[in-house]
């Protein structure tokens, strides 16, 4: 195991070096690689950033403040006085190894995932890193859109983007200089929120790749995420792009080349090649299957109209929750908006909107019921989830789904399908394509819709808690010692 240490003492002529030597000997005896930075009087020889990045744990054997300790931020840390390192170096080495093995970086600090855990743990750490950087975008974008609805009425979204709302057709704003005139201040808020939302998937993909490959992963990850959006692959496409970009960048930046070429690797070669590879795969390999799957789903859904209203409601609900803004969700939403085009109250629209409100609400409820099953950043996402869900901003659930897709997606599909089916069963309708709770006046049978949403919310929360309790050890991330 690779370790680094810093030794330091008041005078800097004796104990600093004795501790360094003792730790090096103990590490070698235990079969570990240890690099020591002696912050003494014989000149400082700082550890290389790469060595710090590669180290799985850090030992501070110091009686005075370690200089530039923020270089080690987020690393599992063992601290002691310098004498303890001289007298019992093997204890510190053993502690550092143990700390490295049972610790995961905090989401906020993670620039690099430690390689301790198994494949599943590492995958989860990568995803959590991406999610933790994405959450502020969800909050900023979602709350701006909710504010726009609150002050401007839900038709503000249609005024900006175009479409039919309450039987009125809007052209939408194509020239942004007319935005304020056409849609007012709420329109401006909505536009800002929508742009922030468009960054969800690029940020998610970029920082998943960043977690895997450090800085070289960022470019292919962000570009791959943008392309996932461009081909309509949604956040699941973003997960694929991020993991792929991280893997490609990781291996590219570890190819050893002649020294002359080495210098241009990080500036030119790695960004160029990794982005070209990831972009090509996203456009040519992922893009067309997504498009043809969407076409097939759309046709299939059109044929489903004869299957009975409740069946259609269940299906639309499940599709809304499956990928939250991704291709399947889009098919269901577009189908529902299509039924609205005539300006008549639409049952499918009511089912889609009600079902789309359920995932963020259900997960918000789950974080309140069993806080311990969620990470800190997930709990914060849960707090925003109430308003996002109430505003029919299904994306509020993406942080949860991206961090733990196999447990979260089936749970939210179950809850959303129940709501979709119930909404259809009671014969509710909607005249608005979006807006959630803010367009309750345009909903037919609003109280029953609210009841259906409440039932779906509870089903989601219960299912996700049950799913998370399976293999719970994986979902509780221990809080590491921060530096």
């Amino acid at each position: 195991m690779k370790l680094v240490a810093v030794t330091s003492c008041p005078t800097g002529i004796a104990h600093t070096y004795m501790a360094a030597e003792a730790l090096e000997q103990a590490a070698a005896a235990a079969g570990h690689e240890l690099l020591v930075e002696t912050q003494g009087s014989a000149g400082m020889d700082p550890l290389a950033p790469q060595d710090i990045a590669d180290a799985r744990a850090v030992i501070f054997a110091a009686d005075v403040e370690v200089r530039d300790r923020d270089r080690f931020a987020g690393k599992p840390l063992v601290q002691s006085g310098v004498k303890h390192a001289i007298n019992h170096p093997e204890e510190l080495i053993a502690q550092a190894v143990a700390r490295a093995s049972d610790s995961t970086p905090t989401a906020a600090l993670a620039s690099k995932v430690d390689n301790a855990g198994g494949a599943g743990t590492r995958l989860r750490q990568w995803l959590m890193t991406g999610v933790s950087y994405m959450i502020p975008f969800v909050a900023a974008g979602g709350l701006l859109i909710a504010l726009a609805f609150l002050f401007g009425g839900a038709e503000v979204a249609t005024k900006v983007s175009g479409g039919t709302f309450d039987g009125v057709k809007y052209a939408g704003v194509t020239d942004l200089s007319t935005l304020l005139d056409v849609a007012g201040v709420p329109g401006v808020l909505f536009k800002i929120g929508a742009v922030a939302f468009s960054m969800l998937v690029p940020i998610l993909a970029g920082f998943i790749a960043f977690a895997i490959a450090d800085r070289p992963g960022l470019v292919p990850g962000v570009v791959g995420g943008l392309l996932a959006g461009a081909i309509g692959a949604g956040f699941l496409g973003g997960l694929v792009a991020g993991l792929m970009a991280g893997g490609v960048a990781y291996y590219l930046s570890r190819i050893s080349l002649p020294r002359a070429l080495q210098a241009v690797m990080p500036v030119v070669v790695v960004p160029l090649v990794s982005t070209a590879i990831v972009g090509t795969i996203m456009l040519l390999v992922v893009g067309s299957p997504v498009a043809s799957a969407q076409t097939a789903l759309t046709d299939w859904l059109a044929g489903m109209t004869g299957a009975g209203a409740v069946g259609l409601g269940l299906l639309l609900g499940a599709m809304m929750a499956f990928d939250m803004g991704g291709p399947v969700n889009k098919v269901a939403y577009t189908f529902a908006v299509g039924t609205l085009a005539s300006g008549t109250p639409s049952a499918a629209m009511a089912a889609v909107m009600a079902a789309g409100m359920v995932p963020p609400l259900g997960l918000a409820l789950a974080t309140v019921l069993r806080r311990k099953l969620f990470t800190d950043s997930e709990r914060k996402a849960g707090e925003a989830g109430w308003l996002l869900g109430a505003s029919f901003i299904t994306e509020g659930a993406i942080p949860f789904a991206a961090a733990d897709p196999l447990r979260v997606i089936p749970s939210i599909m179950l809850g959303a399908a129940a709501t979709g089916g119930l909404t259809m069963a009671v014969g509710a309708t909607s005249l608005a394509p979006h807006g959630g709770i803010w367009v309750v006046g345009l909903i037919g049978k609003p109280l029953l819709v609210l009841l259906a949403i409440a039932i779906g919310t509870v089903i989601t929360a219960v299912s996700v808690l049950a799913a998370k309790s399976v293999g719970r050890a994986e979902s509780t991330v221990p809080v590491p010692v921060t530096v």
Binding site: P10, T11, G12, I13, A14, H15, T16, Y17, M18, A20, E21, A22, Q25, T38, G40, S41, A42, G43, D63, G81, K83, I86, N87
Partner: protein, 149 residues
């Protein structure tokens, strides 16, 4: 100038008092012209010792200071049969190293002291010093182990 010479080695120091032993060693450094003001140097050593006793497990006493009174990086060595309490938890020190470093000395000088400190954690080095027959053997050991490495 070498780090240590024979006149800086006290093979059978009699006192069992930390301050007295430090003073004896410091006096040798003064006599050799390596420390200009023994009293000032002792104040600096005592100040460092007061921060935290420099005794180490395994019978080592390691008084040291960077001091304006020091001319050359130097080591004075004493061996005590009875042991001198140097604040280590496992018993008195039998090997005492007084390290004198010039204040603001260049990094090159300090590297020798760093190398000495690194050797001190090796049991073989301590055993050899404990068994050394005379002052010349001590000087030879330290010179070979620290300076010629």
């Amino acid at each position: 100038m070498p780090l240590i010479t024979e006149d800086l080695v006290l093979l059978d120091i009699e006192t069992t008092d930390r301050a007295a032993a430090t003073r004896e060693l410091a006096a040798r450094l003064g006599a050799a012209g390596r420390v200009t003001d023994v009293e000032a140097f002792l104040v600096d050593v005592a100040a460092r010792e007061a921060q935290m006793a420099t005794g180490l497990e395994g019978g080592i006493g390691l008084p040291h200071a960077r001091s304006a009174a020091v001319v050359e990086p130097s080591l004075a060595f004493a061996r005590s049969a009875d042991g001198i309490d140097w604040g280590a938890p496992d018993g008195p020190a039998h090997l005492v190293f007084l390290i004198a470093a010039p204040d603001g000395g260049g990094a090159e000088h300090m590297k020798i002291l760093a190398a000495l400190a690194r050797r001190l954690v090796h049991q073989s080095f301590k055993d050899a010093l404990a068994a050394a027959a005379d002052s010349a053997a001590v000087v030879k050991l330290i010179t070979e182990e620290v300076i010629d490495r």
